[in-house]
């Protein structure tokens, strides 16, 4: 056991856990944020995607001991009122079915749009192919990312 200070969604959390424990289980069972999901445990499905310093990572295989000094963002941290442009686009396109994979899908999409505010289909394929959806919502995910890109452009315009 070892003690770690984690910066998650701009809050500081102190946990005393096995250094090998994946970040996923720390976030879920010790910090109590249940939005990040367990899907495969081997970084194959993307359900556990969170951001480490803004980059999408699979929290199911990242040991907590590697988190010191890094900023973690989970689905709970991208907005307080479900109004992130990606969330708005996901609602507008009614993307989720069962919804279980969509915390991870949205975290991947947010990261993609941050790097590439106007991704084409090929860029979406590359940015999103680490996330499996068993309900088959991919067509809507694609549409929603294009829509989120538009919404973000409008918001940026407004901000100036």
């Amino acid at each position: 056991m070892a003690s770690y200070n984690l910066m998650i969604n701009d809050h500081s959390y102190s946990v005393d856990v096995d250094p090998q424990m994946p970040l996923l289980w720390v976030i879920r069972d010790f910090v109590g944020l249940k939005g990040t999901k367990f899907g495969c445990g081997i970084a194959q499905c993307g359900a556990c995607t969170v951001h480490m310093d803004g980059n999408p990572v699979r929290s199911c295989t990242l040991p907590v001991s590697a988190m010191a000094g890094h900023k973690i963002t989970t689905i709970e941290g991208i907005s307080t009122n479900i109004d992130h442009p990606v969330q708005k686009a996901w609602i507008e396109m009614q993307v989720p079915q069962c919804g279980y994979c969509h915390s991870g899908q949205i975290m991947s999409a947010v990261a993609l749009l941050k790097k590439n505010p106007k991704p084409d289909d090929a860029a979406i394929d590359i940015g999103m192919q680490g996330n499996i959806c068993r309900c088959g919502t991919y067509q809507r995910i694609r549409k929603a990312i294009h829509r989120a890109s538009e919404l973000m452009a409008t918001e940026t315009k407004k901000a100036f």
């Binding site: 289980w25 109590g32 944020l33 249940k34 990040t36 999901k37 709970e76 079915q97 088959g136």
Partner: protein
């Protein structure tokens, strides 16, 4: 106080972090728009107008949803049917999942039955309540009922314009007799049914606030990871847990049992710990000896060969019209083909899990992602010998169901572990458990025969199914001398007018647990059936769509679907070289859908699915956008089953263990899908969740043939290299 109001507030799930305190099922008050979803809300000072409609004196209306949500949209579709007749808008209501209470009857999501099975009943529920509220108002005002009408959660008196809210009327209305035959609304006046209204659960699902079974925490809860032998039929010889107990956080190691279908018992060992990671590490440290009892010799190759051998036997006749044998023997043009499909896993994104608390008073409370509270009650009662009344079920959002969560093996096992350790326990299956332990969709093999007349018409047809039996897997006393109807689903029900048809079934014994999988046996039989129809068309030298339409001389929904497909897919428009179109339809218990798949092929043998056109026939549609979503989902799941790994056994266990070798479709492989809905009224209403799946594989196989001249008769096909 109504029974449904006896809910305890202790069960609230406290979630820390940004979302604050949330109800068990997730809570999102959206303010202006959208319904609120509650599970454990207290319902003090409320009145049950019917079991389905609870009106609080504050005016808040709660609609009970008996069909668990697993992605199919029941939180929108079912409440909106009631709300339509009740004359309330969707944002005036809260939705509450039922928990297996007797007054709601059987509460299961399955068989694409949620809307088609309760459409008229739910409309009557809403209309009865509306009539009672109007009557209550008319009595209160002492005016004729005919002068009153309901709108937007209020009753109005037309001549005077005065109005009164449902909340104020609820108590007096509840004392009135429930009308037996309430007058239903004219569909032309519908405000909700037939409209693509947003689903109330979406906001929860894009914000991490939807609470799945996986997310439940109850006070004092321990976590468990459970070791079970991936070689089915093994017995536990002994185990050494000394290393496991050295892992920090491990509390106890206890024996349990996984019971599938109430009849097949598998030994299991549960490592119970303070947290899941510790439980998993403890499980890995177990030293277990299994007696495989010879089952480690089992492999898919040999089993499949045994199915091919069984195909030579006659089997049980399930349909016989005209004289197949004579026609086949005498026809100038005959053909035969053998089709094979694989076993597949359900692979819900949320691995199986359950929280159970076997309490000191011998009642059991479970929190679970399940397709039916009734199923959980049945399973616990059957396997654990407790009464149904002593089981309390809390149904959470299902992270996928697809038929897997019709089984409740994980719930009874978790309850046993809770009893053994005397505290609430959460069992989480690893993805490896979930992939290797089934139950799986069974494979079906099909021996096909057909005969064509001189003028190019199908005159004889035979579909013989050779497969394990779902009935025999479920039921220890299954009568093998009778055909298992679930294994010949739809093969005798297609609308093609073929005068001589003889279909049969050959049962193959199987020790691997198998179960329903989205669209059940139609998911595999349609491949053989509709590809063989295509083979007959080729033999008759006819266009596959024209060949089908020629066998549909009388009006039918199938004919409508095919004609619509012809139009929307631009069937007759030439395609680039190397491209091909394939068509298929399949009608079965759940409904009817037809599809055209368009593929491109390269000289290297690589095939790409370019586009899928789907036409689903419903009669009546409740939410068109959600229907499209379900068909899109069915097509993707059909593509995975047709083109990915499937489940194969070697040395007694599944070779596939996780998503790296049991691959799923990813976004870069996603074809464009265009869905059309036929909803031209009529008395029948067809299902939505499953019909989109069966036509995909045959339409794909037929498209590959059109593009490459190669006939696919065994699934899965590897699209990277067609051979």
């Amino acid at each position: 106080m109504p029974a449904t109001a006896k809910l305890d507030r202790r069960s609230f799930l406290k979630m820390t972090g940004l979302s604050g305190t949330a109800f068990i099922l997730g809570f999102y008050s959206s303010g202006e728009k959208g319904a609120t979803i509650v599970n454990m809300s207290g319902l003090e000072e409320s009145v049950n107008l019917t079991p389905y409609i609870i009106i609080e004196k504050t005016g808040k209306i709660i609609i009970m949803n008996p069909r668990p949500e697993m992605g199919q949209g029941t939180y929108q579709s079912l409440p909106s049917i009631i709300a339509e007749e009740l004359e309330i808008s969707i944002d005036q209501i809260s939705i509450k999942q039922t928990s297996g209470e007797k007054e709601f009857g059987r509460q299961v999501s399955g068989g694409s039955s949620s809307v088609r099975g309760s459409y008229t009943m739910l409309r009557k529920v809403g209309a009865s309540a509306r009539e009672m509220l109007i009557k209550a108002a008319s009595e209160q005002w002492n005016v004729p009922v005919g002068e009153c009408y309901a709108e937007n959660g209020k009753v109005f008196h037309k001549p005077s314009g005065k109005n009164i809210s449902y909340g104020e009327l609820a108590e007096s209305a509840s004392k009135l007799e429930v009308p037996k035959e309430p007058v239903l609304k004219d569909p032309k006046d519908f405000k909700l049914i037939g409209k693509s209204i947003h689903r109330p659960d979406i906001n929860l699902k894009v914000s991490g606030r939807a609470v799945f079974g996986m997310d439940v925490e109850v006070p004092g809860m321990a976590y468990a990871s459970v070791e079970r032998c991936p070689v089915f039929g093994s017995k536990l010889l002994n185990y050494d847990d000394s290393e496991a107990k050295k892992i920090k956080g491990v509390q106890q190691v206890v024996k349990a049992e996984r019971v599938v279908f109430g009849k097949t018992h598998y030994d299991s060992i549960a490592v119970v710990a303070d947290n899941y990671w510790a439980a998993l590490q403890g499980r890995k440290a177990l030293k277990v000896q299994w007696d495989y009892q010879g089952n480690d010799k089992f492999n898919s190759n040999d089993y499949e060969q045994s199915l091919r051998n069984l195909a030579k036997t006659e089997g049980l006749i399930v349909h016989n019209s005209g004289d197949f044998d004579k026609t086949f023997a005498e026809s100038p043009l005959t053909l035969e083909a053998f089709y094979e499909t694989p076993m597949v896993s359900h692979s819900c994104m949320e691995p199986m899990n359950c929280v159970a608390h076997w309490k000191e008073d011998n009642t059991i409370e479970v929190w679970v992602s399940s397709q039916g509270p009734s199923l959980i009650k049945d399973e616990l009662s059957r396997t654990l010998g407790v009464s149904q009344d002593s089981v309390k079920v809390n149904i959470m959002f299902n992270g996928g169901g697809f038929g897997r969560r019709l089984q409740s093996d994980f719930a009874s096992e978790t309850a046993m572990i809770s009893k053994a350790v005397g505290k609430p326990v959460k069992v989480i299956w690893t993805r490896e458990d979930d992939t290797q332990l089934g139950p799986f969709r069974p494979m079906t093999f099909s021996a096909m025969k057909g005969a064509i007349s001189n003028d190019g018409k199908a005159v004889a047809f035979q579909h013989k199914v050779i497969s394990p039996s779902l009935g025999a897997s479920r039921n220890a006393t299954f009568d093998k001398t009778k055909p298992d109807n679930s294994m010949v689903e739809g093969i005798s029900d297609q609308k093609y007018e073929i005068p001589n048809m003889k279909n049969s079934y050959v049962l193959a014994d199987f020790h691997i647990p198998i179960s329903a999988w989205r669209s059940v046996t139609s998911s595999t039989l349609a491949f053989a059936h509709e590809c063989f129809i295509d083979e007959m068309a080729v033999k008759a030298n006819k266009d596959p769509l024209a060949f089908r339409l020629e066998m549909l001389t009388t009006e039918s929904d199938t004919k409508k679907v095919l004609n619509k497909l012809k139009e929307v897919s631009e069937w007759d428009k030439p395609l680039p070289k190397g491209w091909g179109r394939g068509i298929a339809q399949y009608e079965f218990f759940a409904g009817l859908c037809g599809q055209v798949v368009v593929v491109s092929s390269k000289a290297t043998g690589e095939v790409k699915v370019e586009k899928v056109y789907a036409v689903i026939d419903l009669g009546t549609v409740v939410n068109p956008d959600n229907v499209k979503a379900q068909v899109e989902g069915g097509i993707v799941m059909g593509l995975v089953a047709a083109t990915k790994d499937g489940i194969r056994f070697e040395n007694g266990k599944s070779v596939q263990t996780n998503f790296h070798n049991n691959r799923m479709l990813r976004i870069n492989e996603m074809p464009e899908i265009e869905v059309h809905i036929i909803a031209d009224g009529g008395p029948t209403i067809k299902g939505v969740g499953e019909p989109g799946l069966p036509p995909l594989a045959p339409a794909l196989g037929n498209a590959i043939y059109a593009a490459t001249g190669k006939r696919m008769r065994r699934l899965p096909v590897d699209l990277s290299k067609i051979s």
